[in-house]
Subunit: 334 residues, 4 copies
Amino acid sequence: MNIALIGYGYWGPNLLRNFSSVNGCTAHTLCDARPERLTLAQKIYPTLNVTTNIDDVIANKNIDAVVIATPVFSHYPIAKKALLAGKHVLIEKPMTSSVKEAEELIEIADKHNRVLMVDHTFLYTSAVEKMKSLIEAGDIGNLKYLDSTRINLGLFQPDVNVLWDLAPHDVSICDYLIADKPVSVQATGISHTNNGIENIAYLTLNYQSNFIAHFNCSWTSPVKLRQMLVGGDKKMISYNDMEASEKIKIYETGYEIKSEEDKTKILVDYRTGNIFIPKLETNEALKGMANDFVQALINNTKPRCDAQLGLRVVKVLEASQESIKNNGKEVKIK
Amino acid sequence: MNIALIGYGYWGPNLLRNFSSVNGCTAHTLCDARPERLTLAQKIYPTLNVTTNIDDVIANKNIDAVVIATPVFSHYPIAKKALLAGKHVLIEKPMTSSVKEAEELIEIADKHNRVLMVDHTFLYTSAVEKMKSLIEAGDIGNLKYLDSTRINLGLFQPDVNVLWDLAPHDVSICDYLIADKPVSVQATGISHTNNGIENIAYLTLNYQSNFIAHFNCSWTSPVKLRQMLVGGDKKMISYNDMEASEKIKIYETGYEIKSEEDKTKILVDYRTGNIFIPKLETNEALKGMANDFVQALINNTKPRCDAQLGLRVVKVLEASQESIKNNGKEVKIK
Amino acid sequence: MNIALIGYGYWGPNLLRNFSSVNGCTAHTLCDARPERLTLAQKIYPTLNVTTNIDDVIANKNIDAVVIATPVFSHYPIAKKALLAGKHVLIEKPMTSSVKEAEELIEIADKHNRVLMVDHTFLYTSAVEKMKSLIEAGDIGNLKYLDSTRINLGLFQPDVNVLWDLAPHDVSICDYLIADKPVSVQATGISHTNNGIENIAYLTLNYQSNFIAHFNCSWTSPVKLRQMLVGGDKKMISYNDMEASEKIKIYETGYEIKSEEDKTKILVDYRTGNIFIPKLETNEALKGMANDFVQALINNTKPRCDAQLGLRVVKVLEASQESIKNNGKEVKIK
Amino acid sequence: MNIALIGYGYWGPNLLRNFSSVNGCTAHTLCDARPERLTLAQKIYPTLNVTTNIDDVIANKNIDAVVIATPVFSHYPIAKKALLAGKHVLIEKPMTSSVKEAEELIEIADKHNRVLMVDHTFLYTSAVEKMKSLIEAGDIGNLKYLDSTRINLGLFQPDVNVLWDLAPHDVSICDYLIADKPVSVQATGISHTNNGIENIAYLTLNYQSNFIAHFNCSWTSPVKLRQMLVGGDKKMISYNDMEASEKIKIYETGYEIKSEEDKTKILVDYRTGNIFIPKLETNEALKGMANDFVQALINNTKPRCDAQLGLRVVKVLEASQESIKNNGKEVKIK
């Protein structure tokens, strides 16, 4: 499989490095409008084809798949062109700027029977994989809540707010861990700039089941926090991505609602117990993602973060933006 | 000044101990419906008068002031009786179950010229005092946000939700630190019990100025967190109440919005710098609160957490409850 | 059993409180040369007998046992008097100022068939009990080393050096955990005062087996550390007494020496794995110690920290002092 | 200046990368006995000359300086050859296996007027530079002690013990920070292998002044610790190299010995105060070291870690080994 990468900015070099080392594919062509970026890449990969023109990529029959790592607003037009030209497509997160765009891409991919996948790298980290396997094994019990904080002093984005920038990580993790899907969102936030783009935002996801998810995102925190709590009725997990090795802690902590006939006298059983810190593998997550894409191309397998997952994340983001603009009112997810 | 304490449950012993040692007052009488609680107290304070009947306290002309540490729903009727009987009143937080009750108590107190105060103990901790003095000195600059997390595996309350239980601490701290007052709230949450009382809740406060406050409260976290960030445009403060001594960290971190003529190209200046951990005094906060009340009685000074502050906290709580019940819609604070 | 406490300084109040609540004994008499200390105690314990004269305690036939919490140099003469008068004796750590004194006390206690015990409170903490049970169950494997750091900004003692002040805790824990006993010590240190009493000291214990123990003690550290590592060939334990609840961490970390025929090419197998943080009970250690003493009086059981353990600790301290004075030379323990 | 690197093992690639980017020199030739290592290097540096024969390097008149990153035992013969051939020499730490070797190299370098330097990289970290500047500015006061812990689950070295492997870092930092030089050492340790090479060791350095340094080194710890305390009579520094950004903490903690006429009654004044965490630059230390060497070649400046510093470190290591073999007895440093 010959793969072309479009966009060689912040994340592009990581993608190129990984697609260069994954079995079953060749990093065939790199496309970026800036010639100096192409020169830089060729120093490391002397045999790489380069071009400043996307259409060269689209027209090249030898290219089987395209990886799109450009700014969000351009995901849709590039992916559409590539799909229509019969190429498989991997898009950086978030998938598109709107639900409409994402749905159209899925429709095209389905019609042409092409793989369409979104790079939600965090789903391939050993920490998230460990949480997933614990939940699937039933160790955590019925899930009750997910609470996420992802804040730091971050680069203010000129075109998208802090939720579009930071929340895709945690919303995709939530989507992956929880079988149930959100029915509505509420979001609040503030913009400290004139352009009205929120640099601090808070997002709540509601579910038909008895589950709630909350996301705290900020570009204006003096400390860098990446903390997530996932609570079940058997055990609870703390996931701290800033820890070097002890990222996941599993708490034998829980509560059980006993007799509730009389609503004025609920009886709750509390449990606290041992804590377990599993050893995590040190695989590079991005390599796992790249490999998942290549396997989908070769073996027609369903990738972990397929276009449907990417779409669900965009649905949450679009709804959250509508909620913020409407003072936090509940917005249904279609 | 002779002081009577009504209610000798979880917090009562702390109040009694502190009012026994504060200058200018005498812990005169203890009232609790449970005789065994009275016996317990008399072992430590042999000269203390005790009664199971609140009316004994109200009727006693020797008693100048009453401290009310009973369940929330009874704050209003007891305080009203005491004020009407000409006594000064200190109420445990939250002041009352409703804005209406709180406003009526304030009216009565004003009419009878009595001191009415609410015990928001945290305002007397050296950590909060340090934050206050830094903000007042202008060290932090214009305040931009406050973000608070107060979660742990906590006792489910049968009558009030987690916001009424935990948020008064942080909302009162916010009220004390920020000169501006909130104009509206949005709140979301979930109840994992049949009685519909939220055990997890999220609260956003909006202000006319460019400031936002957010509160994350839970009775169902495996880890106990008490973290607050206060961001200004000069510096930012992290307040971790779980730290033994290094509770406050001041970050020379900030950002400045430069040219904003062209809204599509904002220019932000980021600063990160040294961190400063001030030494905090080890005074007992509750003693400071007790002393503040006694000084108000003796010298007619305005206490730090006067009834107006108590009322503002109840306004936030009442509005937040209305918002949760209305799926997070914005509720104005009158 | 009627118990008299001699010495009501820093630790005395804790002893009195615990012996007042342990079953099977009565806190009968308190003795301290300072009348104001006696008055203080009587406020809390109105029925307690008090005296400023030790001989009153010794002569009182109603007193079965004496608890000695006076400065170290006076342990021996008081304990001797009490034992000769037929009383059981509990002594604060360290047992005596010299091996000779400790041995004589043991001889007298044996001759008069009295219980003689030393208060090494740490052996009754749930953290140390957990380590002991793990080691005894074979979970840790053959023990290879113990490494302890106990440093803080501490009160310079006028009569004993930092090892006599701080090391008894860790040396007694080591003695309790490790079946083998040390054969020699080396110690180094420094005195930053004119009186030549070391405020920083380092102690190594050597064993006939392949085990080593090291103790780092200081009164002049800006941070308070209480850290211990215990390494076995199966697992390793980290014990951090400054942690509120997660004091003990068990690491599935180890190494195994494979082929060693050729000494120039050793082959070591390394393992790192999961980490386990056991929930610890929150019992008060001192109450367990007091109870152990009372049980020894009543049921003639062997207490956990009997006089032999107390003696072994003093042997280490005396040898370490000799080693420091001789520039770190190895001193055999008899 | 043309530079040749001899040895392309663990550290070699870092040296080559840095000497390739430092101004004023060219990475001219790489020498390693393993051809596959040379091939690897040429992939990244296509114009690099390579050879498996050291004598090629020595004989090449175009090479001005040699960087030696081979196993310790070979430092001396290679450096000697290079110096005698008129080349400047940079040696990886520790400088040599013996004091005799180091002294002979210094003699040759002096005679031939060549630069001889040792790569103690840590001296160029921003953390150590910050400590140095604080000490030189007098902020810390008179230095009283340095206490270092460098432990982890590390590779057992087949030829040198854990002190030769780990202590050079901390001994060189100590040498750099403290103007005074040690007069004697005591060391203890244990070997858990048959070959008698210590995997745990403890080292004390004694000084004529009232200063003491202690080093705790282990290859068999379940946790990785790199902690150092430096105590002065004004302030104290904690240096934790495992922290991502808050490596250095400066404590306004101290003690002052007041009246000491009567040695039985010392009077100590304790101070605890604020803590300050300076922002550290994020320069790569190794680049600073490489640059220091090149500056010494070009401008004849004295490098920070010149051969005399390298020699002093070897003196400490050799003496410590003698002390361990003699059961911890004090060994003078010549």
